[in-house]
Amino acid sequence: MKIYYKKKFIFGVIYFLLGLCLLTFGFLKGFDVKQVILSILMPLIGISEMYLSTNREAVKQEKVEERDERNQLIKLTSTDKAFRITREICFIAMLIFLVLGAKLEQVLLMGIGLGLAFSFSLLIFSNLFTTIYYENHI
């Protein structure tokens, strides 16, 4: 048996072992619904991942999908869009909390607003630094 995709195989082994641990833990301490579902699903996912990592055609197909230029563009575009949406939501929530905090004189709301302001400035600076980096490297 040859492993064509080590990362996938390791992922499968980890999932399988975690599933077994959960199963053993369940037998010792008792099961609840969530645990039953997880202890069935996790070993199954682990086994299928291990099997797929040894299947040459499946690995080839997965690697083609990973390297596919359209998929990479989709990944970049969706990450960028998600970043923009997060930044905008962060800005709006910051404004709302700061204004409400000031109006109602609530320190907690002001604190949340300041926390969001910190996150927002972090997003702005990370965007600025990555832009400078790629301006010089592309």
Binding site: V64, E65, R67, D68, E69, R70, N71, L73
Partner: protein, 77 residues
């Protein structure tokens, strides 16, 4: 961007999956190129052109697309 991928593929009697396998991309990429939703990279265009024994210029209708782009640029001003 308009391309002649579908036309060439039909002439060569290839399925989208077969063409995708020949140029190492997913069949979704070929579908998107044929629907003019995605513009292939230079290397992918070259690989597809090689499969159909044609040129990138011919496959990607570069003259037509350039004229279209020029017109759009003129309309900007």
């Amino acid at each position: 961007m308009r391309t002649r991928v579908k036309e060439f593929r039909n002439k060569a009697n290839l399925t989208q999956q077969q063409l995708a396998d020949l140029v190492y991309v997913s069949s979704r990429t070929i579908i998107s190129i044929e629907k003019e939703q995605y513009s292939p990279s230079l290397m992918l265009s070259y690989r597809i052109a090689e499969v159909f024994a044609t040129t990138v210029e011919d496959l990607c209708c570069l003259k037509e697309n350039k004229e279209l782009e020029d017109k759009q640029h003129e309309d900007l001003l």
